[in-house]
Symmetry: C2
C-alpha cells in the first residue's frame, strides 16, 4: 500500500528540477502596468530523455517538428516555453526559428544540452525571435526561489483564467517516497481559439525507461483524452514527463495512481477554466457494447451543442441527450436505455419517468457547479467518462473577438 499527499512547490517540488517565468513583452502589460509573464523555462539538473505525448493533428507545430527531428532520442536538460504565438503553419522557417532561438540559448548558457521548445498561441504567425532571445537576460537558472514554480505556471497561460499546477508526494510502505510535480495550460473545449494543451510533469521517482511512455498514455486516456475530441486537437498539444530517479524510489501502481490524479486534476481544471464555462459535467456512458463505443457516445455528448446549451440554460432536456446518443452511431435502443442526472432517473428502459417532481429535482442538480449525466446503454460492459462544460454567451464573446 501507499499514501499520496499533496505538497507545495508545483513543478519544482521533485528534487533536481527548477522552472521559472519571465516577461518577454509578448503579452500586453497587466492593468497596473507591470509586465505580464509570457516566457517560462524548465531546467533539469540531470539531462534526461523525456516521455512525451503529442497532438495527432496533421499539421504539427514547428516546435514539435523540431523536437522530433533534432531532440527525440537525446537527453535534454531544458525546455523553453513561450505564449501568444503557436509557431504553427510556419513551415521550414518556423523550424529554423526554433533552431535560431535555441542556439542563442545554448550560446548564453553553455551547460544547456539539447534544449526543447514548446509554444502556444495564435496559429500562422512567425515567432518574435528577438523578444524571446532578449528575455534570456532575465533567466536565473541557478536560483532556487520558492515562488518560481508559480511564475512558471503563470507564464505559460494564454487565455487561461487561472494557473494550473499541482504536486504530490507518494509515501511507499517500505519508507521510501517520491514526488511528482506538474504545470499545465489550456482551456480545453471551452476556448478552442487557443485550445492548445501543454503539460509539463517532473518526478524524482525511478521510472523505468521502458515503462514511462505506456503509463503516460494510460493516464492520458482518462484525463486529457477525456476532455478533448480528435476534432479539437490543436497543432501544439504536448505532454512532457521528466523522471530523474533521484529519490531512488518507485512502485508502478503507486506512481500510476498519483500520475492519474495529477493529470485528472489538470484536465478537469482545463474544463472548469474560462469565462465561457460555468459548469463542469461528467458525461458517463456505461453498458456500451465495448469501451470504444462508450468513448464515442460520451464524447458525442460532451461535444453536442444541443446538450451544452441545455446545460447552460439549466434545462434537463433529456431528449437532446437521447438524440445525441442515437446519432453517435453506437449500438443502442429505447428498450435498454437509461438516462439519469446524478441519481435522478428520467428515462428508464423505454419508459419516460419525467414527472414534475423528477424534472424539478433534475433542474436543481443542474444548478450545481458540477454534476454527472449517466447514460446506461444496456448492451455490454463498456464504460467511459468524458468531461465537458456548458456553452454560454461568454464562449461566443471570447471566441468571436478579433484574432483571440
Amino acid at each position: 500500500m501507499f499514501d499520496i499527499i499533496p505538497v507545495k512547490g508545483g513543478i519544482n517540488a521533485p528534487q533536481g528540477f527548477y522552472a521559472d517565468g519571465v516577461s518577454a513583452g509578448l503579452k500586453p502589460p497587466l492593468a497596473d502596468g507591470t509586465p505580464a509573464l509570457d516566457v517560462a523555462f524548465l531546467y533539469s539538473e540531470d539531462a534526461l530523455k523525456p516521455f512525451t505525448l503529442f497532438t495527432s493533428n496533421a499539421f504539427q507545430a514547428a516546435p514539435i517538428i523540431h523536437f522530433k527531428q533534432f531532440v527525440q532520442d537525446k537527453e535534454s536538460n531544458f525546455v523553453l516555453i513561450n505564449t501568444k504565438n503557436a509557431n504553427a503553419m510556419t513551415g521550414q522557417k518556423g523550424v529554423q526559428d526554433v533552431c535560431d532561438i535555441l542556439s542563442a540559448l545554448t550560446q548564453k548558457f553553455p551547460f544547456i544540452q539539447n534544449p526543447i521548445m514548446s509554444s502556444t498561441g495564435v496559429i500562422g504567425q512567425y515567432l518574435p525571435k528577438d523578444k524571446i532571445i532578449a528575455s534570456f537576460n532575465a533567466f536565473e537558472i541557478q536560483k532556487r526561489d520558492e515562488n518560481a514554480h508559480a511564475r512558471a505556471a503563470d507564464a505559460i497561460r494564454t487565455t487561461d483564467a487561472f494557473s494550473k499546477e499541482i504536486a504530490l508526494r507518494v509515501q511507499l510502505d517500505n519508507g521510501e517516497s517520491f514526488c511528482i510535480g506538474a504545470m499545465a495550460k489550456g482551456a480545453g473545449m471551452i476556448q478552442p481559439a487557443l485550445a492548445t494543451m501543454l503539460c509539463f510533469i517532473t518526478t524524482d521517482a525511478l521510472v523505468p525507461q521502458n515503462e514511462g511512455d505506456r503509463i503516460l498514455r494510460e493516464c492520458a486516456k482518462t484525463s486529457f483524452n477525456a476532455i478533448s475530441v480528435d476534432g479539437d486537437m490543436s497543432t501544439n498539444d504536448s505532454v512532457f514527463l521528466f523522471a530523474n530517479g533521484r529519490s531512488g524510489a518507485y512502485n508502478e501502481a503507486a506512481f500510476t495512481e498519483a500520475l492519474k490524479m495529477i493529470m485528472h486534476k489538470l484536465a478537469t481544471d482545463m474544463v472548469r477554466d474560462g469565462e465561457g464555462a460555468t459548469k463542469l459535467v461528467a458525461f458517463e456512458v456505461c453498458g456500451a457494447r465495448d469501451e470504444a463505443q462508450a468513448v464515442c457516445a460520451a464524447k458525442a455528448l460532451s461535444n453536442s451543442l444541443l446538450v451544452k446549451t441545455a446545460i447552460y440554460g439549466g434545462d434537463p432536456n433529456w431528449g437532446r441527450i437521447a438524440s445525441t446518443i442515437g446519432a453517435s452511431g453506437v449500438e443502442c435502443n429505447e428498450e435498454s436505455l437509461k438516462i439519469a442526472f446524478d441519481s435522478v432517473v428520467v428515462f428508464d428502459k423505454g419508459q419516460i419517468c419525467f414527472d414534475e417532481e423528477r424534472e424539478a429535482k433534475a433542474a436543481a442538480i443542474m444548478e450545481q457547479e458540477s454534476f454527472r449525466i449517466t447514460c446506461d446503454l444496456g448492451k455490454g460492459n463498456g464504460r467511459f467518462v468524458a468531461y465537458g462544460c456548458d456553452l454560454g454567451y461568454n464562449y461566443v464573446k471570447i471566441n468571436a473577438d478579433y484574432r483571440s
Copy 2:
C-alpha cells in the same frame, strides 16, 4: 436540352396534389391573438408509393417507425404533419398514438388510404392526441384554395423564422413539361434544439418507380446531407417525394437537375434561417485524396466551433481553418495546402500570404451575408461543398431557453 422556370403554388403547383394548414392549438396564438397554424396535410388525388429518406439516428421517432411498419410498401394518398411535438423516445405508446390518430382520420374521411404521419418538435413527450384529432374538423381537403400551399408551409414551421417552399416547371425540348413543388421546415445546424428537417416534394413528372429513390439520394448528397452531419441527425428527419405522372412527361437529366435545385434551395434556406445565424458560408474542400475525405474535411469545417465563432466575429483567422483540417484526419500537409476566402488566397503551399492588404480584403469578404472558404488539399480530385453558418449570441439564446 430543357428549361427550368420558377412558378407559383409551392407544393400545390403540380397537378393532383393539395396541401393546407390549420390550427390545432399546439402553438401559442400569434401576437395579435389569431391562432397559429400547426397542423398541415398533404392530399394526393392518386394513391402513390412515395420515395423516402429517413434519419440515420438509432432512435427513430414513432411516426417513422409507424411508416416502416404499416405503410412502407403500400400506396398512400395522405400525409398528416404536426409541429411542437416530435413523438420521439415514446416507445410503443408513441406508435399506438399514431395508429389512433390516423384511424380517427380515416373514419372521418373514408377516401383516405394508408395515411402517413410526420412530426417535429420536442423529444420525449406524448402527442396531444385529442387536439390533433379535433383539428380534422377544420380540414377542407376538397377545396382548391390558391393560398393553401402557403398555409401548409407555415403550419410545419417550428422555430423557423420563415416558410420554405418552392415550385419549378421543367419545359422539355419535345414540348412536354412537368412540375415539381416542395415545402420544408428546419433550421439545420443553427437551431439544433429542433433541428428536425422535414421535406415534402410533389411532382406530376412520370418518374419511373425504380429510379426515384436513387435520384432522391443523389440530390440529398449535395443538399440536405451537405448541411447536416451525422452528429446532428435528429430522430425525425424525413424527406417524402410523391410522383403521380399526370403530366405524362419525364426526362431523367432534367428531373434530376430540377430536383437538385429545389433541394439545394431548401437546404441553404435552412442554414440561412434562424436568429442565430447571420451568414451563409460555403466550405469548399477540393484536391482531397477522394470524395470521402473531401466530405470529412468540409463537414469538420462547417461544424467547428472555432471556425463558426471566427466567422461571427468577421475574423479571417485562417489558422483555425488549417487546424481544423489537420485535426479532421484527412491526408494533408502544409506544402500542398491552399486556403482562400472567395478569391483571396491567405495560405499558399506552405507560404503565409496574409499581409495587411489581404487581411483587410478577407475581412471585407466576411462582412458579406454569404461567401466561400476554399481549402485545396493538393492531394487528388476529391471535392465537396458543405454549407454552414456562424455561431453568435442568439444561437445560445435560442438553445439555452428552457425546453426550446
